[in-house]
Assembly symmetry: C2
Homo-oligomer: 412 residues x 2
């Protein structure tokens, strides 16, 4: 007897037969004696279709600004609402009891940052009431509601954030994340053909991999899972194989020096030159950027002389439009400072908790890239990862080289 | 300076260009100095598409029962939510301010009769707040929310019910109902080629026409409009012509004996024979039927001898499944009673407030049908209408005959 939260992504609920297949998994878990909550995404191409409708409408004029962002979320939350209703019907059709809830209906309250809202609280009581009646509870992923009653979406990977947040507040025994792959791989198998499925990985390693471009689970979902110690099991919805367990770090994990490698593409490096070198300037700059809800990474500051410094960081290309507005305002206020933007970059990273106790990891990575004449433009490191910024064109090759250098295809 | 509520049906918002056309109407009304609220239906075929998805899912098992009805409403309300968001974006794109609300978001509270819920209250404050900020307020038609937070739909013609209910609580100067026809006609122009647009019609006449099958505006919307004295202007969204005004009765309306004729098809007559003739039985029978939220019409009771009576009534074919369950239970409890069902019926009606002061109307109608050898199976009358139940196959011809008999094609 446990409490299981299952999440099915868009491809796993893309049509009626797949919805029924997902429903059978939920029912099987229920019949095995568990309480079951199911989080679903929008069906297949639904979100893209809704975005396309909005684009058609906005072709006729200017749809930017905060009000249209609210309306965009008002539009997009319908995608998951369609799936929850159909999933509940599918479970009914198979002879079990189910009830569906939108984010708003279970009191999943967020801030008002439309299109990338953050979860603030969940009223778990409504879920428990239904579980205690023996029902399978279906919850719409990717969405919430502000305290004022406006619908919000949680941004990229929002359904996974819902999965883990629900798992955390309900104190679930496991969050099962069903996708169309067998688990987390040592690298993206589309880029590295001999990549291998990882059986167990720590939250911290997954965090670094997620942040460096492994797209199955996003940083925020893993952060949440780590904070509340919720085990995540990433599985393939097409088979019954064991997938990858994302769990707290255990002692024997340190035997493995490098667990995985990742590539993040479409990066732009922003460099602000001639920044006055006095306390509080960096805090000021990144405070303004954070206030715009823009995620930056790989921050490097070099002091140029006793009065000025250069500050650089990377940002995803998609964020650049919003970011430029903020940066240009800051530059103007700072006087002699100047911003430059270099596009077409990628970042290759290796991650492993074993780095803490093993030496020579960085050297082995740099040598692999240098031997292949790949130029490293920036290096950033944490306790358990090493990242190199390189030309985007070199990205896939660099990932394969690094994967080979650490023999990640071999089971350890 | 007034307050106008506009409603656009599914065909008037079927694609991006039509949404923009509707948006331009709302903006024009705003720029003429009015406060403007817009009620919209789901785009074109959206509701049919959602119903089709549900059917696909339910093919695999049994989706009847109250829980799937809740899920069906959970599914269907997404249709209007898509339109409100796109309509708000279209108004933004044209340079005006707008904000969209679902039924739940403006506190449109209904009972829990899923698929045909009734409006209980509307929190008008949220609408007024936005109107006072100069925004055009977009509201999803056809939907509401129970006090427990479950989504409901208002049943057939629900968007018109929303239009009039919003018009009533906001004390609107006019409710403009935009459709794809020029207004209310003396009969359905598809069946009667020389039918003529009516300029003004009273609530009572419209009520009788709506109940007898004129499909532009449903009974419940007109009842609400009459109760709160909200003028409705039925107009064509494709042109700027004056349509039909539905208003309180005025003295000169009685000069017109018959305002319109209507045909209602797909009727089934239910006859319960050998009902014990004692007080309270009819109330008991129709109480049970009403509790099942089933609408019946044309109730006739004949006493057969001193102890028993026959009771008959008509019901739309679509309601028959739900109704039979209730009727068979009643018959069983009554002992010797027996129910029969006659399918394939239609009802032709003429309506006019002038009937109150003119005589010979019924005779003229019966003669027109008799001359054409159309058999009248039942007759029911009110102060301002006469209805005859006939074979469905005779329906369109009977409507044309009656329309000619009262010379409804001539402007009076």
């Amino acid at each position: 007897m446990g409490l299981i939260v299952q999440k099915f992504g868009g491809t796993s609920v893309a049509d009626a037969p797949r919805i029924h297949r997902a429903a059978r998994r939920a029912i099987a878990a229920k019949e095995a004696g568990n309480q079951v909550v199911v989080v679903v995404s929008a069906m297949g191409e639904t979100t893209d279709h809704l975005i396309d409708l909005a684009k058609q409408v906005c072709e006729y004029g200017d749809c930017r600004g905060p009000s249209p962002k609210r309306e965009m979320d008002q539009l997009l939350v319908t995608g998951e609402q369609v799936t929850i209703a159909l999933m509940a019907m599918a479970i009914h059709a198979q002879g079990c009891q189910a009830i569906s809830f939108t984010g708003g209906q279970i009191g999943l309250v967020t801030d008002a940052a439309f299109s990338k809202a953050r979860i603030q609280s969940i009223e778990k009581q409504r879920v428990f009431e239904q579980l205690e009646k023996g029902k399978i509870v279906i919850i719409a992923g990717f969405q919430g509601m502000t305290p004022q009653g406006d619908f919000t979406t949680l941004g990229r990977g929002g359904s996974n954030a819902t999965l883990v947040a629900i798992g955390a507040v309900l104190k679930a025994d496991v969050c099962e994340n069903y996708t169309d792959v067998d688990g987390i791989f040592t690298a993206d198998p589309r880029l590295v053909p001999n990549a291998r499925k990882i059986d167990r990985i720590s939250y911290d390693e997954m965090l670094e991999l997620a942040g460096r471009g492994a797209s199955v689970l996003q940083t925020r979902a893993v952060e949440f899972a780590k904070k509340y110690n919720v085990p995540i099991h990433v599985r393939n919805s097409q088979n019954d194989n064991e997938g990858t367990w994302i769990v707290s770090e255990t002692a024997n994990m340190e035997h493995i020096v490098v667990s995985g490698a990742a590539l993040k593409k479409e990066l732009t490096r922003v460099t602000i030159k001639n920044v006055p070198d006095r306390p509080g300037i960096a805090a000021r700059i990144f405070g303004d950027i954070a206030a715009g809800n823009i995620v930056v990474d790989d921050i490097i500051q070099n002091v140029m002389d006793d009065r000025t410094a250069n500050i650089s960081f990377t940002v995803e290309r998609g964020e650049l439009g919003d970011l430029k507005v903020v940066v240009e305002r800051i530059v103007k206020e700072l006087g002699q400072a100047k911003a430059t933007y270099q596009d077409g970059l990628a970042k290759v990273s290796v991650v492993g908790v074993g780095m803490r106790v093993h030496t020579g990891v960085a050297q082995r990575m740099f040598a692999a890239l240098a031997d292949a004449k790949i130029n490293i433009q920036n290096i950033t490191t944490s306790e358990i990862k090493i990242s190199c910024i390189i030309d985007e064109a070199d990205g896939p090759r660099a990932l394969r080289l690094v994967h080979d250098a650490f023999e990640l295809h071999k089971l350890k």
